[in-house]
């Protein structure tokens, strides 16, 4: 049950990315390129995705997940430097090539070697992230 639901959720996620064109790097860069040929598609994708999720969050109140367990409760509410610096780093990489973690996975099957290089670098970055985070904290407390 849990595994089937995971597969279904992933399948819907990948299908949505494919249909919306979010695996096309020109669409993502087009959204970020306000001084160029601006493409608003990504705003519609975000809006379209936030709407069902908004109702899903409402439905979690006073209930338990279908497959058991508990709903996640917000543990970290802090607006810290990790959130800001990490998001900014992600944004720079996102802008440079036009790929973020979801679409790069979804496009593995048709992205050729470029997608594989990106994925490999992303995984290496993820593995290095904890060390980088500690360095960042050290740097900031000194300053």
């Amino acid at each position: 049950m849990r595994l089937f639901l995971s597969f279904l959720a992933g399948g819907l996620f990948g299908t949505g990315l494919f249909l919306s064109g979010m695996t096309d790097t020109t669409k993502v860069q087009g959204w970020l390129d306000v001084f160029g040929d601006w493409d608003p598609t990504l705003a519609f994708v975000m809006g379209g995705a936030i709407l069902p999720m908004f109702f899903a969050w409402r439905l979690t109140e006073g209930r338990k997940p279908l497959a058991g367990g508990k709903f996640p409760t917000p543990s970290n509410q802090e607006l810290d430097r990790r959130l800001i610096v990490g998001s900014a780093m992600f944004g720079i990489g996102w802008g440079l090539v036009g790929l973020c973690p979801g679409p790069v996975i979804a496009s593995i099957s048709y992205n050729g070697w470029g997608g594989v290089w990106f994925l490999a670098a992303m995984l290496a970055g993820m593995a290095a992230a904890p060390k980088f985070g500690i360095q960042l904290d050290r740097l900031m407390t000194k300053a």
Partner: protein, 146 residues
């Protein structure tokens, strides 16, 4: 091109449905960087195998369903990705480190965070969109590199 916004809305809705299934079904937040990053961490410390299996199934769905769709439809996905490997690797590293440090990316902070009315999700989204916009302004229009 004229129907791009409509496909964006439809595709976005399906992404949101996926997030709703993952949340209401398994009680988990659909964040691509969290799911991939969790697997990377899991390999390092050998944490919960059940969660790892769930994450693998999620990723299998992400890859396999679009592949099937492409097989049975006339639509072929185009990615238009740059072939500059140095650019690709630098961007991949930044995305990998950044999303793990910020604890989320477009799907986690953007879709699941904003819909929960989380201030963290909103602030993260504003910052990565600003950083992405600035990157294009500098690297495309300033330096002409991308």
């Amino acid at each position: 091109m004229e129907t791009d916004w409509l496909w964006g809305l439809i595709g976005g809705g399906i992404i949101g449905l996926g997030g709703a299934v993952y949340l209401l079904g398994n009680g988990r937040i659909m964040g691509a960087s969290g799911i991939v990053g969790g697997l990377v961490d899991g390999l390092a410390d050998g944490s919960d195998r059940k969660i790892a299996l769930e994450r693998l199934m999620f990723l299998a769905g992400v890859v396999l369903l679009p592949l099937l769709l492409q097989r049975f439809s006339s639509t072929q996905a185009s990615t238009h990705m740059t072939d500059n490997v140095i650019l690709i690797v630098s961007a991949g590293l930044l995305v990998g480190i950044g999303t793990r440090i910020a604890n989320g990316c477009t799907s986690g902070h953007g879709v699941c965070g904003i819909s929960r009315l989380s201030l963290r999700g909103l602030i993260a989204t504003v910052f990565y969109i600003l950083a992405g916009g600035l990157t294009l302004a500098i690297f495309r229009h300033g330096l002409g590199l991308i």
